[in-house]
């Protein structure tokens, strides 16, 4: 295992050396899957490519994609490229439809994982002196154990709290002198709300840094977290198929998330044609794992929309930056022909003083027409004894949505807590149209 100081240096490696390493690892990975995974042998053969066709990194574009459906078809262990006895950990994503997506890790993969997560934590200046509360769910979900492994590798004092039990979280933050926290941004906002309710001042605790991920969130949410709690908020990105949390993260410069591209090779493609896009262009994010041995994935389509920026970051790290993911190509709703991403509604709500970022979109279809309903929780701050004040709030939200997105939406004010808070991921959209 590398020394911690060496891990930090990996973020600053010179570009040419990095590309040589990537090419070597990629070549090894392509050979590995072609040899050991029937799915990849067939899919490469069908596309008429062989691992030996890879002469440079650019040649990766000749290889076929892997889709989420391929993982489901291979359920549970069809994509592992190693004997089962080398697998030491199995995680599975919460499949909302049908079977879960399974990911298998070798000892090597767990080391890669804890390495990238500890590199994330180091971007937030976390060190062996920190006490870190892990409030992601443990279990099959990769959040808890993933964050845990990284913090432990770094030598922090790690508290395996898991999600829920908000008051207890606050108690531990105070009594254990917690300095860092890892959880979903919506759960942290929930913790902040609970703290306010019981008169607990987070700013008076030692908590100074948080690593929030597992769901898309916005700059507005970041500033709400930072001003409301005094906690510096970092965006940690990941997906279980690639490894879990720790695929990329933002540094102190906050101009995109550094991808740990010595392990996960990113590409941006046009989601409809599959063509690789130039740096700086928006498209679908695709990852190839180049150091994993349990279940490497070649050109895995994430459905997340982003951009890549290869310019040297102000922080000095050489790792390519991706734009923070706010939209997924399959999160996009088409309502009366208008494209809508839930994050757009979130921005509208956060721009109105006093409204909470707790919302849910309900799409239904009466006869031929789609209807969009936006359910918004009423906070004590915006509540009034006068009907006209609440009606004005509704009208304001509605007109901003109309202005920005061009859709008429019905705004429904609901009681706080009505919209489910997530430990894993927030359920922002209820599409009732599929039932018709």
């Amino acid at each position: 295992m590398d020394m911690i100081a060496d891990l930090h240096l990996k973020d600053f490696v010179e570009r040419r050396a990095l590309e040589n390493l990537q090419l070597e690892r990629l070549r090894e990975t392509l050979h590995r899957v072609y040899q050991n995974v029937p799915f990849y042998r067939q899919s490469f053969d069908r596309a008429g490519v062989k691992p030996s066709d890879l002469k440079s990194l650019r040649d990766l574009s000749k290889f076929p994609f892997t889709n989420k459906a391929d993982l489901r078809d291979a359920y549970p262990f069809g994509l592992i490229s190693t004997p089962m006895r080398d697998i030491v950990r199995i995680h599975a994503s919460s499949g909302t439809t049908g079977k879960p997506t399974v990911v298998c890790y070798t000892r090597n993969d767990l080391e890669v994982w804890s390495e990238t997560v500890s590199r994330v934590l180091m971007m937030g200046k976390v060190s062996v002196d920190d006490i870190v509360l892990i409030s992601y769910g443990y279990g099959l979900f990769t959040g808890g154990l993933g964050a845990h492994g990284g913090a432990e590798r770094l030598g922090c004092a790690v508290i395996p709290m898991g999600g829920g039990a908000t008051e207890k979280q606050l108690m531990l933050i105070k009594d254990f002198n917690v300095t860092g926290i890892c959880c979903t941004p919506s759960f942290f906002i929930h913790i902040m709300e609970e703290a306010e309710k019981i008169g607990f001042d987070l700013k008076k605790t030692k908590l100074r840094v948080g690593f929030f991920g597992a769901e898309p969130w916005s700059e507005e949410m970041r500033s709400r977290i930072e001003t409301g709690s005094g906690v510096r908020a970092h965006d940690i990105f990941g997906l279980s198929e690639i490894i879990g949390p720790g695929v990329s993260s933002d540094c102190e410069a906050r101009c995109g998330l550094h991808v740990f591209e010595d392990h996960f090779l990113p590409e941006i493609i046009d989601p409809s044609s599959g063509e690789v896009k130039a740096p700086g262009e928006e498209g679908e994010l695709v990852f190839t794992t180049i150091s994993k041995t349990g279940m490497p994935l070649i050109r895995y389509r994430t459905r997340d929309l982003s951009r890549l920026n290869y310019d040297r970051c102000d922080c000095g790290r050489s790792m390519v930056r991706m734009d923070r993911v706010r939209r997924r190509s399959d999160d996009m709703l088409i309502i009366r022909g208008v494209n809508l991403y839930p994050s757009q509604i979130e921005s509208v709500l956060l721009s109105i003083k006093g409204t909470e970022p707790h919302y849910q979109l309900v799409v239904s279809r009466e006869k031929a027409l789609d209807d969009l309903e936006v359910r918004v929780e009423v906070s004590p701050l915006v509540f009034s004894d006068e009907v006209r004040v609440l009606e004005a709030l509704r009208a304001e939200i509605s007109s901003k949505i109309k202005q920005l997105i061009g859709l008429s939406a019905k705004i429904t004010l609901v009681e706080p807590g009505t919209i489910e808070r997530s430990i894993g991921k927030a359920k922002r959209v209820l599409d009732l149209r599929k039932l018709n």
Binding site: V387, E415, T418
Partner: protein, 142 residues
């Protein structure tokens, strides 16, 4: 001269009003007057209670959105034209009423009316000029 009123946000769903009144009952809070403003999908319950702090505390704990604000309570003469006289004074002073409701007070000789004005100070002055009796919180619960 102000009386504190507790307003409660209610989603238009079965059992919401029952939940609020249950919580108040548990906290030993007595309701003296109430009115509900309802729209298509939400309602605002307005309450005059004997212990407004206890009421607010128990509802907040029950995760119900509520807030305290000031209203004006006046006594009107128990005769035809009694309320019209009060409203006439307000109208003459060009004061807008946001909403109003009556307090059911069997022991009181004169009916009590709760008013919410957008310009509370000016309304109270106009009423006092017209000789209308304004009831304080102490008198109401004393």
């Amino acid at each position: 001269m102000k009386v504190r009123q507790l307003s409660v946000f209610l989603e238009n769903k079965v059992g919401r009003l029952a939940k609020v009144t249950h919580l108040l009952g548990e906290a030993n809070v007595n309701i003296r007057a109430l009115s509900v403003a309802d729209t298509h999908d939400f309602g605002i319950l307005r309450l005059i209670v004997d212990d407004v702090e206890a009421a607010e505390k128990c509802l907040r704990e029950g995760k119900i959105v509520c807030r305290i604000n000031n209203v004006t309570v006046v006594a009107v003469d128990n005769r035809p034209g009694g309320l019209a006289k009060v409203l006439g004074d307000l109208n003459a002073a060009n004061i807008n009423i946001e909403y109003m409701y009556a307090i059911a007070e069997p022991k009181s000789e004169r009916p009590l009316i709760v008013f919410r004005f957008s310009e509370g100070e000016r309304a109270v002055a106009a009423l006092q000029n017209g000789g209308v009796e304004i009831i304080s919180e102490k008198e109401l619960f004393g």
